[in-house]
């Protein structure tokens, strides 16, 4: 009788990996102890689901624990992390929520997830200087028109057909759901998330003019075109007042004049 040759380390790791993340139905039996394997399979799934749950607390509140658990379990299985640091894990979750059939009736859910992911991005983005108003002020008008600004690397703009800022805001205190009943689900909102100070993350609802300005800048429009877009979106839009306000929030990156 011949003793079976043990697998190489690589083959062992491939075999064990196939038993994780709920893929074990498709996997070949590699003769490993089921109870021991179950501990590791549970560690993997539970820890990754916890990571998603921690990153998206308002989505969790909106759909409840069991709905979220089923959603997170499927997400973790379909889109497991590829890097060993989890601060980047969850960037695909809002799109996954948008395409998740059981959530089809909750149109606002994916945009609420986008706000939550934007806040994580804002907290983890590399430190970078914000827009320097002095630079803008000293740029000659003819060059200002053609200048291309950019959003700050920590900033995100979420343009939603739903009142997602109000929904997100109403869930910031677990004990009180302020004003949820009075939210008009038919009214869209545009939300800006920034790192406004060394440790401060700001989440604000934007007026139409600021939103149009930032959206145009985000699409690499010139400063002249972005200003025009803002004026078109909001009658009597005051650009001179808007720029210090947006700079204060650190919505815009440093301009290269």
């Amino acid at each position: 009788m011949t003793v079976p040759r043990p697998p190489s380390l690589r083959a062992f790791q491939q075999g064990l990996a196939m038993r994780l993340l709920g893929r074990d139905e498709e996997a070949a039996d590699i003769g490993l102890d089921a109870a021991g394997l179950a501990v590791h399979a549970n560690n993997v799934s539970a820890s990754l689901q916890t990571a998603i749950e921690t990153a998206f607390p308002v989505v969790l509140q909106l759909v409840g624990k069991s709905f979220f658990a089923a959603l997170a379990e499927r997400f973790v299985r379909d889109q497991p992390p590829c890097r060993g640091w989890l601060s980047a894990y969850g960037s695909e979750f809002p799109d996954y929520v948008a395409a998740y059939p059981p959530a089809a009736g909750l149109g606002y859910l994916a945009d609420v997830a986008r706000i939550e992911w934007a806040r994580i991005r804002a907290a983890n983005a590399q430190d970078a200087l914000g827009l320097d108003l002095q630079t803008l002020a000293t740029t000659p008008p003819d060059r200002l028109e053609g200048l291309r600004l950019d959003l700050h690397p920590a900033a995100s703009l979420i343009r939603s057909a739903f009142p997602v800022f109000d929904i997100w805001q109403a869930h910031q205190r677990a004990d009180r759901k302020d004003g949820l009943a009075s939210i008009d689900l038919a009214a869209g909102q545009e939300v800006l998330v920034t790192r406004s100070g060394p440790s401060e993350i700001s989440t604000v609802a934007l007026e139409a003019g600021d939103a149009a300005l930032l959206a145009a800048i985000d699409e690499r429009a010139t400063f002249g075109d972005a200003s025009q877009a803002a004026a078109d979106a909001e009658a009597e839009y005051d650009l001179a007042a808007a720029l210090p306000r947006l700079a204060e929030l650190r919505a815009l990156a440093r301009a290269i004049a």
């Binding site: 697998p7 380390l9 590829c82 601060s87 590399q126 790192r195």
Partner: protein, 292 residues
């Protein structure tokens, strides 16, 4: 044993800045504010940060860690480098670890005898290795690469065992001893993990302690565990979610009496209690260190 085994001081931080055998606690996000409180800074010998939590080069957490590093010694504990990967290490991961270590200049840097990555997937668990000559070659090569990149020795931690691997040919302590001899790495003795492996995999603790090169142990971990597993195969599970058990305290006292004092960390991750509870556990460890 090999002559390459270095003295304890060699792992206890840089020779210029010896790291005392004090008790410390794991740094967790809900406790940041407390440690940054200038008026009432919590008393602890040191803190340990999970490396991967600070891999974004910038941002809020990174800034807090730099501030804390000015007030407390902070050791860097990696949980995802995957030293046991047959595929080798992720270069980006190692680069980020090296950048963090260069920035913090921690007294200790540690990782695990485990793997976490296969192909394009990171599994976020410390998965077990068959302890064979092939694995020894692979883990040694990976450790060599880390130590060359960081330009310092690292400590390698014994993981908690759940999965018996029949074709292993080496005992864990023997495997670790040979890693020390081949790579010049040190060891992080997780007493809770050893206790768990003894319960789940029948690891003989006395034989383990006898075979381990004790001078290479540069740090000790303590944590809580829970009873789990199926009814017909109960197991101890390393939850990091409870006070250190009586059995683990007793084993820790044995280790300290036998090997001498070592920097000792109390870890707590799930169901994180108020900081006071962690600090009380660290005080208990300090009392044992002081008696040694």
């Amino acid at each position: 044993m090999s002559m390459a085994v270095r003295a304890y001081g060699g792992y206890a931080g840089s020779p210029h800045r010896p790291f005392e055998a004090l008790a410390g606690v794991g740094l967790r996000a809900p406790h940041y504010e407390r440690f940054l409180d200038l008026d009432r800074p919590p008393a602890t010998g040191w803190l340990e940060a999970h490396a991967e939590n600070y891999f974004d080069r910038g941002g809020v957490r990174h800034r807090m860690l730099l501030e804390l590093a000015e007030r407390y010694p902070i050791s860097i504990h990696g949980v995802a480098l995957s030293l046991g990967s047959a595929e080798g290490l992720d270069a980006d991961h190692l680069d980020r670890l090296a950048a963090l270590v260069a920035e913090i200049a921690p007294p200790l840097v540690s990782e695990h005898l485990a793997w976490s990555r296969m192909g394009d997937i990171y599994y976020n668990d410390l998965l077990p290795l068959p302890l064979t000559e092939e694995s020894l070659d692979i883990v040694s090569a990976n450790i060599d690469r880390v130590q060359a990149r960081l330009n310092r020795p690292i400590l390698v931690e014994n993981p908690s065992g759940y999965l018996p691997i029949g074709f292993s040919t080496l005992e864990e302590a023997e495997f670790l001893a040979r890693l020390v001899a081949r790579t010049g790495c040190g060891l992080l003795l997780d007493v809770n993990n050893l206790f768990i492996s003894a319960a789940n995999l029948n690891v003989n603790v006395e034989a383990w302690l006898a075979a381990i090169p004790s001078t290479a142990i540069g740090e000790i971990h303590l944590a809580g565990h829970a009873l789990g597993g199926p009814a017909d195969r109960p197991m101890l599970i390393d939850t990091h979610g409870a006070p250190v058990s009586h059995g683990v305290w007793s084993l820790y006292e044995t280790v300290i009496r036998r090997f001498g004092p070592r920097p000792t960390l109390v870890e707590w991750d799930s169901d994180l209690p108020p900081l006071e509870t962690l600090l009380e556990q660290a005080t208990l460890a300090q009392a044992i260190l002081d008696r040694a």
